[in-house]
């Protein structure tokens, strides 16, 4: 997705001289195209999300904007509504769990990336899961990008609405991240398939996600610092000094930082 940047400053997308820092910047920068890794269809995305049946109409929370009286609001004149908002879609979600064993994306990174790349979203960031909520048809469009690109690994990224436990656990011997509900399973053919939707309800048919990415690729593309990976956190000195500086400035000046 090409985003027109019209800002008073040029975004830097974060500090750091390491490969991890570079990977983070690439994911965040909307002008960088994310590598497509798989081709999960629109219908399969809808199945995994579990919010509506494929082909069913989008349930609405209000009439289309064109059909309802809009108040005379200057903000509404500035902000162009998304397709989902225009249609009056309800707000739904997709939620990810990312293994600390070198998954490509991680919670804050997801949030930052989504904020730079998508419109009309409400992300929530925790340690073991990251949720993004938005209008349903927008969600399906964004989910397709989140699932089909390098932001997801079939084994170490989970799409989980509830019971997310697993991000920090050792991997199973077949390389899969633990999931109490086993929503996705690794077949003998080496392909991962979702047999339950994100909330854990069994699917009528399995949804193929594809083969897990190999360890070498994951370590080269991950956005987590890890001393058993390619980049230990302490080795990216610029990153550490940046965080220290932010902390020092906030300590001395609160949230209006200025250096003496």
């Amino acid at each position: 997705m090409k985003v027109k940047v019209n800002m008073a400053y040029k975004p830097q997308y974060g500090p750091g001289t390491s490969k991890v820092a570079e990977n983070r910047r690439k994911q965040m920068n909307p002008n960088q195209k994310l590598e497509k890794m798989r081709d999960v269809t629109d219908e399969d995305i809808v199945l995994i999300l579990g919010h509506r049946a494929p082909g069913a109409a989008y349930p609405t929370a209000h009439p289309p904007l064109a059909e309802q009286q809009e108040p005379d609001c200057p903000i509404r004149k500035i902000v162009t509504p998304t397709d989902g908002a225009k249609a009056g879609d309800r707000v739904r979600y997709i939620q990810f769990t990312d293994s600390m064993f070198f998954a490509p994306c991680h919670p804050y990174q997801r949030t930052y990336t989504e904020c730079y790349r998508f419109r009309g979203i409400d992300p929530g960031t925790l340690s073991g899961r990251q949720i993004v909520e938005c209008r349903e048809r927008d969600l399906e469009k964004y989910s397709k990008e989140l699932v089909n690109t390098e932001l997801l690994d079939a084994a170490r990224t989970g799409i989980r609405g509830a019971t997310v436990h697993g991000h920090s656990l050792r991997l199973a011997e077949n390389g899969m991240m633990f999931d109490m509900l086993q929503r996705s399973v690794l077949g003998e053919d080496g392909v991962v398939r979702y047999v339950k939707n994100q909330i854990g309800e069994p699917l009528d048919r399995a949804v193929t996600i594809g083969k897990p990415l190999d360890e070498k690729w994951l370590k080269a593309h991950t956005t987590i610092f890890h001393s058993l990976g390619d980049v230990a956190y302490r080795d990216d000195k610029e990153y550490i000094e940046y965080v220290q500086r932010i902390h020092s400035l906030r300590t001395k000046y609160g949230f209006l930082p200025k250096e003496a």
Binding site: F225, S227, Y233, Q244
Partner: protein, 568 residues
């Protein structure tokens, strides 16, 4: 920052016990083969107990197969045991929920049912207004009467109902003073003897701080404070004090001077363990949200028992504090959740925080020449931003690397909030023990949070966004309504009031600043002396050991009721 060598890993024994027969550094393991909750003897016990309850009452109860995720019970992964840090005792996680642990209940009971009341004000009234003679003998007589009355017995009126002594055996009053001559003249059964209870240096400082004033350490019955609330403690105590003065000094029960005694006992001379909270949080005095961190660090007595190990002393405060502030205060009083135990126990199980903290001790000794084993104000490091940043960064990075290099350690602390609290606590304790400055320790905490978040691109649950990512800005503020020195902050300090996994550690950071200096007390010498009492049901010098005893069902609490219920 620069990594230092430390070959000892205090958590290794725990990991090897928890994950028996497994390589604790392996990145893979097996799942889905543990037979669900059946792998836990305690949960099996729960099922059996529940069946009996259901048969008795005819209403369904604990049903982990049907009711957990529509048929998928707990235990698809290995359900771990936990070693209570510093004790060598392994327990099941369930045994550390305060409902299942009588020692935890008693710790809070013992705080809530305690007030300290000054005697000098009453003695002045007796001497100057009523012309009564006050001598060690009359004080002894008064204390006899008071120890009869405080549990709930009559001293003046006829035909009164009274409480059964067997139900209130934990209720008593002792006194303490900095005047050793007076202390020697009082009956030993009633005296908290500072010289005997504390190491000499601490005793000297405490006696000097208390001076010649005389104070009553009062513990009302556990059953009373449980049936009522913390606000009852000073009222119950004041009533019995008033009646005991009337009885012991032969006063007129209705004379106006009684009002002076009442005012002293209820207001002017009372030291509550906690101040009352504003209406929005609506609790009376002596409830957890009003305990200042400095006071809590005085309630815990580990620095009295381990004066040469400020890290150990601080870790005991962490254990006691996370139990009280996370499990009981935030978990149940404020939230109502059951899961807070899982957050809190991370800080006092499996020696993980202990390992990270002692790494910090090695670091401050190696780099800043702080002889932390001999606590003293003289070798404390100047709390500059640069030094605090350096200590916090190194201790944080070391902890993160331990989690990375021991995947079972990461699996042990499977939640980001657990890791965030533990890492930041180690940084905060290292900072405060090194500098002797509680606010510097709090500042180290918040740098750790920011480093952690950026390193792993995750931190804790939503609340951490609020509290920890803005915390740097208030750590050194002491303006009214915006900040305070660490000692007088507490669970209801605005930025601290909502988030599990913080308040116990903050209390320990405050304590660490003083334990690292070798101070006898953190905020209030009277509280320090009061909780040194060996007659208390809960041993505040060893909170974690007491919790372990509670977990293995060897702790005997107060609050006996078998005398008044049918035999089972």
């Amino acid at each position: 920052m620069a990594k230092i060598e430390r070959t000892q890993k205090l958590f290794l024994k725990s990991l090897k016990e928890k994950f028996q027969g497994q390589d604790v550094q392996s990145e893979t393991t097996e799942f889905y083969k543990f037979n669900g909750y059946h792998q836990s003897p305690r949960k099996e016990e729960f099922v059996k107990a529940s069946r009996a309850v259901e048969m008795d009452r005819g209403i369904s109860m604990y049903d982990p197969v049907r009711c957990h995720l529509g048929g998928i019970p707990l235990g698809q992964r290995q359900l771990m045991t936990y070693e209570v840090s510093g004790t060598g005792v392994f327990v099941e996680g369930d045994d550390l929920h305060f409902v299942n642990n009588s020692a935890m209940q008693q710790m809070w009971d013992d705080i809530r049912r305690t007030v300290i009341v000054n005697m000098d004000l009453a003695h002045q009234t007796l001497q100057k207004r009523l012309g009564k003679e006050v001598t060690p003998e009359t004080i002894n007589e008064y204390l006899h009467v008071l120890n009869h009355a405080m549990p709930g017995a009559a001293v003046v009126q006829e035909h009164m109902v009274e409480t059964h002594p067997g139900l209130v055996d934990d209720c008593y009053v002792k006194v303490f003073t900095g005047d050793q001559e007076l202390a020697d003249d009082l009956e030993p059964q009633f005296v908290l003897d500072v010289e005997k209870l504390f190491p000499a240096k601490q005793a000297q400082a405490l006696s000097a701080a208390v001076g010649k004033s005389l104070w009553q350490a009062i513990h009302i019955p556990t059953t009373v404070s449980r049936t009522c609330d913390g606000g009852t403690t000073s009222r119950w105590s004041a009533m019995q004090i008033g009646m005991s003065f009337i009885g012991a000094y032969r006063m007129c029960a209705g004379e106006a001077a009684v009002a002076d005694l009442s005012y002293a006992a209820k207001h002017a001379g009372v030291v509550q363990m906690a101040s009352h909270l504003p209406a929005r949080r609506a609790r009376g005095p002596n409830e957890p949200g009003g305990i200042m961190f400095g006071v809590f660090s005085d309630i815990v007595q580990a620095n009295r028992k381990y004066p040469n190990d400020p890290a150990r002393a601080s870790l005991e405060v962490v254990g006691a504090g996370t139990m009280l502030f996370d499990q009981i205060w935030l978990g149940s009083y404020m939230s109502g959740g059951v899961g807070f135990t899982q957050y809190a126990t991370a800080a006092y199980t499996d020696n993980i925080l202990d390992e990270y903290t002692y790494y910090g001790m090695d670091y401050i000794k190696d780099k800043y020449k702080v002889d932390w084993r001999n606590p003293s104000p003289s070798d404390k490091v100047k709390p500059t931003q640069e030094i605090v940043n350096d200590i916090a960064t190194e201790v944080c990075l070391n902890g993160m690397e331990q989690y990375e290099q021991f995947p079972t350690l990461m699996e042990d602390h499977f939640g980001g909030s657990q890791r965030a609290g533990v890492l930041a606590a180690a940084c905060g304790l290292s900072g405060s023990i090194a500098t002797g400055n509680s606010n510097a320790g709090l500042n180290a905490w918040y740098l750790c949070m920011l480093l952690h978040k950026d390193g792993w691109s995750r931190l804790g649950f939503f609340g951490y966004d609020l509290q920890d990512q803005c915390g740097s800005a208030n750590t050194l503020s002491i303006r009214g309504d915006e900040g305070a020195i660490g000692e007088v902050r507490g669970p209801n300090y605005p930025n601290y009031a909502m988030n599990v996994g913080h308040q116990g550690e903050y209390a320990a950071i405050v304590g660490g600043a003083h334990y690292g200096r070798g101070d006898a007390f953190c905020f209030d010498p009277r509280v320090k002396i009061c909780f040194a009492d060996p007659a208390l049901k809960f041993d505040f010098a060893e909170p974690r050991r007491e919790f372990a005893k509670g977990a293995i069902r060897e702790f005997m609490p107060a609050g006996e009721r078998s005398l008044i219920i049918p035999a089972r």
